[in-house]
């Protein structure tokens, strides 16, 4: 079983620390979401995992070895860091063939990965004429060439149409089911919610959370209730007076925390307020993410 171990990773560009003492582990058999706002250091971390950037401190190992020490890296790690990273004038087949040959992989692997990514029909076409979705597939085909146990995708769904997004999502799930370690970055929590089993959240280069997806849902979902009524203002005052925290939700609704649905219902009945909706919520992961990264920003500001 191959894992990615990131230990105390630090990267500086000039005076700026873009990755700050980051440690986490990517386990096989699951999709690990690597989440953070733009500029949080996700891509830089991935580039350090791939040996493309040198850390100032710390280490990354893949199955216990440094990337540069892998004798045939494509057979251990497949990565899609930038879908645009193909020469537009080169045929898809030749692009993959050069990569396969460099790692001593047989020629038939090129045909196999083209088939698996649905690109057989365009193998002889120049990559410059590809749509973003096709380039993405070509990048994934390259990542799969050596049938690696570890896969790394940097923002793979950016700019894709819904069909392409679904395809990539299903594809990553399938790769994890095959027992591979899959690390996928995104700045969208909603995307991760549909793909990831485990989450590594970073903000400003620091680790904010390293947690299972279901734990995160439970930890952040407790105690929020959506309430709808014809006069939200007065109910909000009464709820606040009773010790709840109230904020405005969508379409004139209230989002209440600190009180259960039952308590809110009783309070409303006592004051004779008619409720049109009372729904206990699992806080959306988006909210959880905002909450997490907000803390990191505040911490940064105070420091």
């Amino acid at each position: 079983m191959t894992t990615i171990e990131v230990r105390g990773l630090t990267k500086k560009y000039g005076p700026e620390t873009v990755v700050d003492d980051l440690s986490f582990t990517v386990e096989p058999g699951q999709v690990t979401g690597f989440l953070g706002p733009n500029g949080a250091g996700k891509s830089t971390t991935m580039r350090m995992i791939m040996g493309l950037a040198t850390p100032a401190r710390g280490s990354v190992t893949i199955g216990g070895r440094r990337y540069a020490d892998l004798p045939a890296p494509l057979t251990e790690v497949g990565a899609l860091l930038d879908a645009g990273a193909v020469h537009g004038a080169r045929r898809a087949y030749d692009h993959l063939l050069a990569l396969a040959v460099s790692n001593g992989l047989p020629r038939r692997r090129v045909g196999e990965v083209l088939a698996r990514t649905g690109l057989e029909g365009v193998a002889g076409r120049r990559a410059g004429g590809f749509s973003l979705g096709m380039r993405q597939r070509l990048g994934i085909a390259a990542a799969l060439l050596g049938d690696p146990r570890v896969l790394i995708f940097d923002e793979p769904v950016n700019g894709l149409d819904p069909e392409g997004i679904r395809w990539i999502r299903d594809f990553m799930r399938a790769l994890a089911r095959e027992g591979r370690a899959v690390l996928v970055s995104s700045h969208l929590m909603s995307e991760m919610a549909q793909t990831a089993d485990h989450l590594v959240v970073v903000g400003r280069g620091r680790l904010i959370a390293d947690t299972g997806m279901s734990e995160l849902m439970r930890a952040n979902g407790a105690g929020t209730v959506l309430v709808r009524t014809s006069d939200p203002g007065s109910l909000a005052r009464r709820l606040t007076a009773a010790g709840a925290t109230v904020r405005d939700g969508l379409e004139n609704s209230l989002v209440v925390s600190g009180m259960t649905g039952e308590e809110i219902g009783k309070l409303a009945a006592y004051h004779g307020v008619a409720l049109s909706e009372l729904t206990p919520q699992l806080a959306s992961l988006e909210d959880a993410f905002m909450e997490l990264t907000k803390d990191s920003v505040e911490y940064q500001g105070a420091a």
């Binding site: 580039r47 791939m50 040198t54 890296p73 860091l81 020469h87 537009g88 460099s102 001593g104 390259a142």
Partner: protein, 253 residues
């Protein structure tokens, strides 16, 4: 074994780009076109100063433009990967950077050696053929110094291609590397007079200057041993390549 794989992959990358073949075709077409043109006024020039008449050197003057085209080829071997971002993919597949750059150098050298020799021999024969039609004294391949000038010329062009590989690696951008190459092969020689005397020694091994003495069969009194000048330029190219390896190994992609 592993270097052979890297080399093979680099060769696939080179041959799978049309631009590689277009550049080589341009090298031959433009190179031979200039040879044909430059032979036009040969008769009149020869009449002016018969003792300096060098039919071989005359047919090889096409090197002046050919070195730029073969330089573009060398630059693109490296910078096309940076322009497209492909370098990250390449280095993911071949993280041993010295091996990757060495493979690129070998591919560029092999291509440039073949292309350079082909162009020089073709220019020589075309040039002499034009002279025959003008009934101007011409040279044979077996004449003293001729084979040395023609093969040395091919080596000169290969060295320029390698210089370009080095510049492309250091600059990572086609425009910057090309501008530097033009500066080295055209501007610096044109501005020779501006440089202080202690730097004048460098011009003995400089492209288009001392190193280009290799193209002549009539000895230039300033450069009596043209192979030494060419050897000096090759050493200079080696220094640039060494610098290219050093930065390529150390820097983030």
């Amino acid at each position: 074994m592993s270097f052979a794989r890297t080399l093979h992959a680099e060769w696939i990358k080179f041959r799978s780009l049309r631009s590689s073949w277009y550049t080589l075709a341009t090298l031959l077409v433009v190179g031979l076109g200039i040879t044909a043109l430059s032979m036009g006024a040969a008769g009149a020039d020869r009449a002016e100063s018969p003792q300096d008449w060098d039919p071989t050197g005359r047919s090889l003057t096409t090197y002046i433009v050919a070195q730029l085209i073969i330089g573009v080829l060398g630059i693109l071997v490296v910078t096309s990967e940076y322009a497209t971002g492909l370098m990250a993919t390449t280095l993911s597949a071949t993280p041993r950077r010295h091996r990757l750059l060495a493979a690129k150098v070998v591919v560029a050298t092999a291509v440039a050696l073949v292309a350079g020799q082909v162009l020089m021999f073709a220019s020589f024969f075309l040039g002499q053929a034009v002279l025959i039609t003008q009934e101007v004294p011409n040279a044979q391949l077996g004449d003293p110094g001729v084979l040395s000038a023609v093969t040395g010329g091919g080596i000169y062009l290969s060295a320029i291609a390698l210089l370009a590989v080095g510049l492309g690696t250091i600059m990572r951008a086609t425009a910057g590397a090309l501008a530097t190459l033009v500066g080295i092969i055209f501007l610096v020689p044109a501005l020779q007079g501006l440089f202080p005397s202690w730097m004048q020694g460098l011009f003995a091994i400089w492209p288009t200057k001392g190193a280009a003495a290799i193209f002549a069969t009539v000895p230039d009194p300033a450069y009596p041993e043209p192979w030494l000048n060419l050897g000096g330029m090759c050493l200079g190219v080696a220094v640039v390549l060494a610098a290219a390896f050093a930065v390529f190994l150390r820097r983030d992609v």
